[in-house]
C-alpha cells in the first residue's frame, strides 16, 4: 500500500529525491582561515580569499576533508581515493567569485545507503547517489532598505557537504524520515550539527509525479525549505500542481522553484532560468585531492556506534520493539540516558518510563535531555522501587511528578510523603471489608450480575487507602470476597 494522490484521471505516484546541504562543523572555512561562527557581525569573518580579491589562492582545510570521509563511511558509501574540485559558474550578488568551488564528476564520496525508520516500525532503504564538498555562498538581506539588498559574506566559503539521494522516496513521510535519519547520523558522527533553523542543514527537494509503472517524468527542484514541516507542505503542494498541469493536458517544465512558507506555495525562480548551464570545469587553482588507504582506515577506526547498529543492539539486548528502539537511538543523549536507566533493570519498564513520563516532562518543560529535570540515576531508582513493589504504577507517577518538581531522589520522596504502597494483605482486607459493609446494595447488585461495579469497588478501596494499596492485591482480594 503505497502513497497515492487521486487525480481526475486516476492515481498518481510521487517520486522524490533530496539534496541536503550540511555545513561541516569546522572552526575555519573550506579554503580560507576565516572563522565560521553563527551570528557574527557582518563581513567580520571574511578573508580576502572569501571576498574573491584578485590573486588569492584557496588552500583546503584538512579537517573538512576528514569530516566528508567520516560522513561517507557513516553512510556506508564508497570513498573515492581521488576526487577533483570544479568551478560551478553562475552570477549572484552573494557569490563574489562568480563561481562556486564544488565537485562535479569526481566527488569525494560515491554511492551509499540510508535506512529509514518509519512510524509503523518498518524500514525502507534509500540510495545515496554521492556526497561532495563545496563552498557555501554569502547571505543576502532584502529587508534592510527599500531599494537595496545587503550582502554579508560571513557564510561565503564555509564548507558544505552536499548529500544527494537517489529518487527513491515515494511519500512526504519518507522524505521527512530521510532528513530525520540523515540528521541523526550526522550528529552521531559529529560532522554537522543538523540545525535547520540556523541553516546549517538545508534541503532542496526534487519532485515529480507519475502513473504507477511509468518511467520518471520531468521534475521540479524546490529550494529554500528550512524545516521538516515546510518540506511536507512544499511536496504536497508541488505534487498537486504538477498533477493539475498534466490533467489539463499540459507539460511540466524542468525548473527551480522557490517554496514560500507564508503563502504555502511554490513558484518559479526566474533568476535560475539558466541555472542548469553551470559550465563546470576543473578548478585550476586546486590539485586533485588524493586519499590514502591508511587515512581512510584511521578515520574508520574512530567511528562511533551508529543509530542502525545501536537500534539493532537495543532490540537484541533489551528486547525492545523496532519502534521503541528507533525512538531511543534517534540521538546519542537519549540512547545514553536510556542505557543508564535500563542497566541491571527491566529494560521494557525502563523504556516505558524514559519514553513516556520522562520525554513527556521534557516536552512540557521545554527542556533538553542534556539538562534533564530528573537524572538517569534517580529515574533508575524509581524503576527499582516499582520492581520491588514499594510503589504501584500509579504511586510511581505521583513520585515522578514530585521528582520533577523538587529534583529529589525517589527514595527520599517516598519516605517524606509516606507514599509507600500497602502490600500488607491484612490492611487491604480490612479496607475492603469496610467498603463492602458500607455499600450493601452495590454488593447485591454486583452479585446479581452487574460486573461493571467491580471498578467502583476498586475505586472505593483506593480512595480509602489514599491510593497506596497495591492494585493487584486489591483486585485479587476483592474478587475473592465478592465471589
Amino acid at each position: 500500500m503505497g502513497y497515492v494522490i487521486q487525480g481526475e484521471t486516476g492515481d498518481w505516484e510521487l517520486v522524490i529525491g533530496l539534496e541536503v546541504h550540511a555545513q561541516v562543523t569546522s572552526k575555519s572555512k573550506l579554503f580560507s582561515g576565516a572563522a565560521t561562527s553563527f551570528g557574527a557581525e557582518p563581513n567580520t569573518e571574511v578573508s580576502l580569499v572569501d571576498a574573491a580579491m584578485p590573486g588569492m589562492l584557496p588552500v583546503i582545510n584538512e579537517y573538512c576533508v576528514e569530516q566528508a570521509i567520516r560522513t561517507g563511511l557513516g553512510l556506508k558509501a564508497q570513498i573515492n581515493k581521488t576526487s577533483v574540485f570544479a568551478r560551478k559558474n553562475y552570477f549572484y550578488a552573494d557569490l563574489p567569485q562568480g563561481y562556486q568551488i564544488s565537485q562535479y564528476d569526481q566527488p569525494i564520496v560515491g554511492e551509499g545507503t540510508i535506512i529509514l525508520d518509519m512510524k509503523d516500525g518498518s524500514t525502507r532503504t534509500i540510495g545515496i547517489e554521492r556526497l561532495h564538498l563545496e563552498q557555501d555562498a554569502g547571505k543576502s538581506l532584502h529587508d534592510q532598505h527599500p531599494q537595496k539588498s545587503f550582502i554579508d559574506l560571513n557564510r561565503a566559503g564555509t564548507a558544505l557537504m552536499e548529500i544527494v539521494s537517489k529518487p527513491d522516496m515515494r511519500s512526504p513521510e519518507e522524505a521527512a524520515a530521510y532528513v530525520t535519519k540523515l540528521r541523526s547520523i550526522l550528529r552521531y558522527l559529529g560532522t554537522c550539527d543538523g540545525n535547520m533553523a540556523e541553516g546549517s542543514m538545508r534541503c532542496d527537494i526534487n519532485v515529480s509525479v507519475r502513473k504507477a509503472g511509468e518511467p520518471y517524468r520531468t521534475r521540479a527542484e524546490i529550494k529554500n525549505v528550512n524545516s521538516i514541516r515546510f518540506m511536507f507542505q512544499a511536496i504536497e503542494y508541488e505534487a498537486r500542481r504538477q498533477i493539475d498541469i498534466y490533467e489539463e493536458g499540459g507539460e511540466v517544465v524542468q525548473e527551480t522553484r522557490l517554496y514560500d512558507a507564508t503563502k504555502g506555495e511554490t513558484r518559479s525562480m526566474r533568476s535560475k532560468e539558466n541555472a542548469h548551464d553551470y559550465r563546470y570545469f576543473p578548478d585550476p587553482d586546486l590539485l586533485p585531492l588524493v586519499l590514502s588507504d591508511e587515512e581512510i582506515a584511521s578515520i574508520k577506526s574512530t567511528l562511533p556506534e551508529l543509530p542502525d547498529e545501536k537500534k539493532e543492539r537495543f532490540m537484541r539486548d533489551y528486547q525492545l520493539n523496532a519502534y521503541d528502539a528507533g525512538v531511543l537511538v534517534a540521538d546519542q543523549e537519549s540512547a545514553h540516558f536510556f542505557e543508564s536507566v535500563a542497566k541491571g533493570r527491566d529494560p521494557k519498564l525502563a523504556a516505558n518510563w524514559v519514553m513516556g513520563d520522562f520525554f513527556g516532562a521534557l516536552n512540557r518543560l521545554g527542556k533538553e535531555i542534556s539538562d534533564p529535570p530528573v537524572t538517569a540515576a534517580n529515574l533508575g531508582a524509581l524503576v527499582d522501587l516499582i520492581a520491588d513493589n514499594t510503589l504501584s504504577g500509579r504511586l510511581a507517577k505521583e513520585v515522578f511528578e514530585l521528582m520533577v518538581e523538587t529534583g529529589k531522589a525517589p527514595g527520599d520522596i517516598v519516605e517524606e510523603k509516606g507514599l509507600r504502597q500497602v502490600t500488607d494483605t491484612g490492611a487491604i482486607e480490612a479496607s475492603i471489608a469496610e467498603v463492602l459493609a458500607a455499600n450493601p446494595d452495590k454488593v447485591a447488585e454486583y452479585r446479581s450480575g452487574k460486573d461493571k461495579l467491580f471498578g467502583f469497588f476498586v475505586g472505593q478501596v483506593m480512595k480509602a487507602t489514599a491510593g497506596k494499596a497495591n492494585p493487584a492485591l486489591v483486585n485479587e482480594i476483592l474478587k475473592k470476597q465478592l465471589g
Binding site: 569546522s26 580569499v49 582545510n61
Partner: protein, 95 residues
C-alpha cells in the same frame, strides 16, 4: 568545431557580457578559430591515458583547521562602492 551566432549570444548572457548584435558574427569566427587551434590536441593518441586535471606530480596541500584570517571588515569593504552598516549593497534582488 565551430560556434554559431546563437551559441555566442547565449555564452555572452551567461557571462553577463552585453554584446552588440553586430559583433556576434565576428566573435563567433574568432572563438571558432581558437577552438580549432586547441582541437589540434585531438590528433595526439591518448589511448590508455587517464584524463588528468593537472600535470604537476603533486597532490593537494592541506592546512590545519585554525582561524588565521578575517576580522578586517574595513579591508574587505574598502573597494565597495556603496557599503552601508558593514554590508555590501547591491540593487535589490528579490525573488
Amino acid at each position: 568545431m565551430s560556434l554559431d551566432k546563437d551559441t555566442v549570444k547565449k555564452l555572452a548572457t551567461l557571462a553577463r557580457l552585453d554584446l552588440p548584435e553586430a559583433e556576434l558574427t565576428h566573435l563567433a569566427g574568432e572563438l571558432s578559430n581558437i577552438m580549432q587551434f586547441v582541437e589540434q590536441l585531438g590528433e595526439v593518441n591518448t589511448d590508455g591515458v587517464a584524463p588528468m586535471t593537472s600535470v604537476a606530480h603533486m597532490t593537494l596541500p592541506r592546512r590545519k583547521d585554525e582561524v588565521t584570517d578575517g576580522g578586517y571588515p574595513e579591508r574587505v569593504l574598502a573597494n565597495a562602492p556603496d557599503a552601508m552598516d558593514g554590508f555590501y549593497t547591491v540593487p535589490k534582488v528579490v525573488e
